[in-house]
């Protein structure tokens, strides 16, 4: 068998000694994960501030002189792109992917540690390029996060001078970083699993990250291709996307390009991107729910198949983002059909999460609270997705706040709930310290109620027909005064939620510095990362010998067993039963 030597790279046993080798140019997957995570959270805070500024303008138009329309659109664009790509994708795959894959499958490190390190540094460069666009003349691009041409590169759009070029360059670098990391994750999962770790014994976290990485590897090229062609259109005067047009009274040199072609390419990336974020979230939340409910995950096989099915389906639904761009009705029918089909595996997952909780011995820890919060927000956002998946319903709602509400429930709040669940869940392993539980609970309730206070009223605004993307609503016949009051309230809730994220940041920093030392396995979890000889795991993860895996990751509350959990790496003969009889797992 040759896979064990791949998991068991003995050179990983030699600790790097200098500070720089250990913490800066580190090739250790755990350090790289934390580097990825820190940069992602930092850049996410920038995006959070931008969203607060946007909300200030929307809630109290004419009160903030320093926000002009151009800046407003720059905030919108940068908020969207940072949150979707540079925070969520990077934190789920670069952060949790890096941290959990080798630990949960029992490897010493990724199979290509050097490539892994390069991946992080490319990511950092992409973030720096993106942030640099705040400081150039004209500022960052204000084209909206979808960057539709022709307006994205036409004079008059904020950031058309340089911001858009930096955005495209940054995305290209990010895609290179992701590809390097992604090849690593896929190969590691396939080739570096330890003794006894079959594919179907992998925790769902690894399954989610694995399938999402494959999606990313095949979806990001579409963004890359469109970024390259748009760069050519802008810098070299080609007409891939740019139609013949008159701009500011001048006829441009471009001839008959296809802006809709860009939209197809963009959304061929954009829709799988939703699942690049959602699938790791599905995986992580499954593990958190099962562990804190002290119950095996309901329908493990179905959960794995659903992840794979959602991954496959996500490539054939992209044009549901383009119903309003104009298309052949048969096209719309096809894409509505595939979109609604995705609801089936997704619903299977939701039922299984709820059934995992059913009659579980639930421990309402901080990670569990966030995981339960995820079920609420995800169901909520998923149901409005069924509205919008239908062409006839989407057409009137597409340009209203209903879409903002749907999108942020399903792709903003839900994955962020999982991120918090996962960060709190694995924090004791990453840092070796325990966080402050009271602050964690304050953070959860403020975030959960706060985000509902933001997004629930937006559905109503959407039904009224309040348009999204507008800098200021002005006065219209169909928007009553009460809608403006509601808007002001939404802004207050948004500021509230933003401020309470500081509690989280403070809790993390304080706990790393002054927190109580944590047990190696504080949640009494079964997966391998909690069974490491050192806490936090040292370089090489496993000490002298790799762990051997004897069962799946969800052996909780087995009848007749003394402990209510059986770790994956304990042989059956060492499992203590109440009456001393041999352990044979669950009885059917």
């Amino acid at each position: 068998m040759s896979y064990i030597p791949i998991a068991d790279q003995t050179d990983e046993m030699h600790d790097p000694h200098t500070f720089i080798a250990k913490y800066v140019w580190s090739q250790d997957h755990k350090v790289i994960a934390i580097q990825y995570g820190t940069v992602a959270v930092a850049v996410g805070l920038v995006a959070l501030v931008l969203s607060a500024l946007m909300r200030l303008q929307l809630g109290f138009p004419d009160s903030f002189a320093f926000i002009d329309p151009a800046e407003y659109y720059q905030y919108v664009t940068m908020h969207g792109m940072i949150m979707v790509v540079y925070l969520l994708t990077a934190l789920f795959l670069g952060g949790f992917g890096n941290y959990l894959i080798p630990l949960q499958i029992g490897a010493r490190d990724m199979v290509f540690p050097f490539l892994n390190m390069l991946s992080f540094w490319f990511y950092l460069v992409s973030v720096i390029i993106l942030m640099a666009s705040f400081f150039i003349p004209g500022g960052p691009t204000g084209a909206g996060w979808t960057l539709y041409p022709p307006q994205a590169i036409t004079a008059g759009t904020p950031g058309a001078d340089g911001g858009i070029m930096l955005m495209l360059a940054s995305l290209a670098v990010f895609i290179i970083a992701f590809t390097m990391g992604g090849l690593n994750y896929v190969t590691t999962v396939l080739q570096a699993r330890t003794h006894g770790m079959t594919l179907m014994r992998m925790p769902l976290s690894v399954w989610g990250i694995f399938v999402a990485t494959i999606l990313g590897l095949f979806a990001f090229p579409a963004l890359f291709v469109s970024a390259v062609m748009m760069t050519f259109d802008n810098m070299l005067g080609t007409s891939f996307f740019m139609p013949a047009m008159v701009s500011l009274g001048e006829t441009l040199d471009h001839t008959g390009g296809g802006p809709v072609l860009f939209q197809h390419l963009f959304w061929f990336f954009g829709h799988p991107e939703v699942y690049i974020v959602a699938l790791p979230a599905f995986g992580l939340v499954s593990d958190v729910l099962s562990c804190h409910a002290r119950k095996n995950i309901f329908g493990y096989r179905m959960m794995v198949w659903a992840i794979v099915a959602i991954g496959g389906l996500s490539f054939i639904v992209w044009a549901h983002h383009m119903y309003v761009s104009g298309m052949n009705p048969y096209f719309g029918f096809f894409f509505a059909f595939t979109t609604l089909i995705i609801a089936v595996p997704t619903a299977i997952k939701v039922y299984n999460w709820v059934l995992t909780l059913w009659e579980g011995n639930i421990r309402l820890t901080v990670p569990m609270l966030f995981a339960c919060g995820f079920i609420f927000t995800f169901v909520h956002g998923g149901l409005t997705g069924i509205f919008l998946g239908n062409v006839t319903v989407d057409l009137p709602l597409s340009d209203t706040y209903f879409v903002i509400a749907h999108f942020h429930m399903v792709m903003g709040v839900s994955p962020v709930m999982v991120l918090f669940a996962a960060l709190y869940h694995w924090f004791p392993k990453m840092s070796g310290k325990m966080f402050n539980v009271t602050l964690g609970k304050i953070h959860f309730w403020a975030t959960f109620f706060g985000t509902y206070a933001i997004y629930l009223p937006m559905h109503y605004l959407g039904f009224l027909g309040v348009p999204r993307r507008y800098y200021s609503m002005g006065t219209t016949d169909f928007i009553p005064e009460s809608a403006n009051t509601l808007n002001a309230n939404i802004t207050m809730a948004a500021i509230w939620v933003a401020v309470f994220q500081l509690v989280f940041i403070f809790n993390m920093i304080w706990s790393v510095w002054r927190g109580k030392k944590s047990d190696p396995n504080p949640w009494e979890a079964t997966t391998l990362e909690w069974q490491t000889p050192d806490n936090p795991p040292c370089h090489g993860n496993w000490g002298a010998e790799l762990p051997t895996v004897y069962r799946w990751a969800y052996e909780y509350s087995v009848p007749g067993v003394v402990d209510d959990f059986v770790p994956q790496n304990i042989p059956a003969k060492d499992v203590k039963t109440v009456d001393g009889s041999p352990y044979i797992g669950h009885e059917d």
């Binding site: 090849l183 079959t198 291709v225 390259v228 001839t255 095996n296 799946w552």
Partner: protein, 205 residues
């Protein structure tokens, strides 16, 4: 199909203490670098496919004026084909453990690849001199972008080739560089296929 078989496993059943379950053994042929290269080739394939799909969609719009074909491209195709053959031959020599043929094979394939790159640049120059500029028609734009992107991938391959050849010339054991040479040859064959696809596309449309 072992993947399909393994995802039908029922992991919750009691499976005893023997960790060596069937379906987990991975043969020698699947070195991690091979898996990574296959995935990478799949990614590159998707990139080119998306360009080609864009090509067909853009072609339907009315301002499309097909570009004439440069005869030089036939010569370049021949060069790349020869290169692929030599790579394959070198790979055979590595398997037999022959030191000198490997050296010649590596150097020859690299030189011919450089000739291919030069040939492509000359084709660009020829087109440019004939007035087919990058921005003057979308057909031209696609010609330059597709050939350019393919050329960049060739250059990336040459970087890996340089490292392998350097090792060969500095007298490394044939065994030690067997994998790099095999991976190089796979990459070259793949880029030949991609080029044939692009060339066919440019010729017939």
């Amino acid at each position: 199909m072992s993947f399909l078989k393994s995802i039908f496993e029922k992991p919750w059943d009691y499976q005893g203490d023997d960790p060596n379950l069937s379906g987990q053994e991975i043969g020698e042929s699947l070195h991690p670098k091979r898996i990574a290269l296959r995935m990478f080739l799949a990614v590159i394939f998707v990139v080119f496919m998306l360009f080609i799909v864009a090509y067909f969609i853009r072609m339907e719009l009315e301002d499309w004026r097909p570009m004439p074909e440069s005869n030089l491209l036939w010569v370049n195709t021949g060069l790349l084909f020869i290169c692929s053959v030599i790579m394959q031959w070198t790979r055979g020599a590595v398997h037999k453990g022959l030191q000198n043929p490997v050296k010649y094979g590596m150097v020859a394939s690299g030189v011919i690849t450089l000739a291919f790159v030069y040939g492509q640049l000359s084709a660009w120059e020829e087109m440019n001199n004939a007035g087919y500029y990058l921005a003057s028609n979308p057909a031209n734009s696609f010609f330059y972008v597709l050939t350019g992107l393919h050329g960049l991938h060739i250059l990336g391959g040459l970087w890996v080739w340089t490292r392998a050849t350097f090792k060969v010339l500095s007298g490394a054991e044939v065994k030690a560089i067997r994998l790099s040479i095999e991976l190089c040859s796979v990459y070259w064959h793949f880029l030949l296929l991609v080029w044939l696809g692009i060339f066919a596309l440019l010729s017939y449309t």
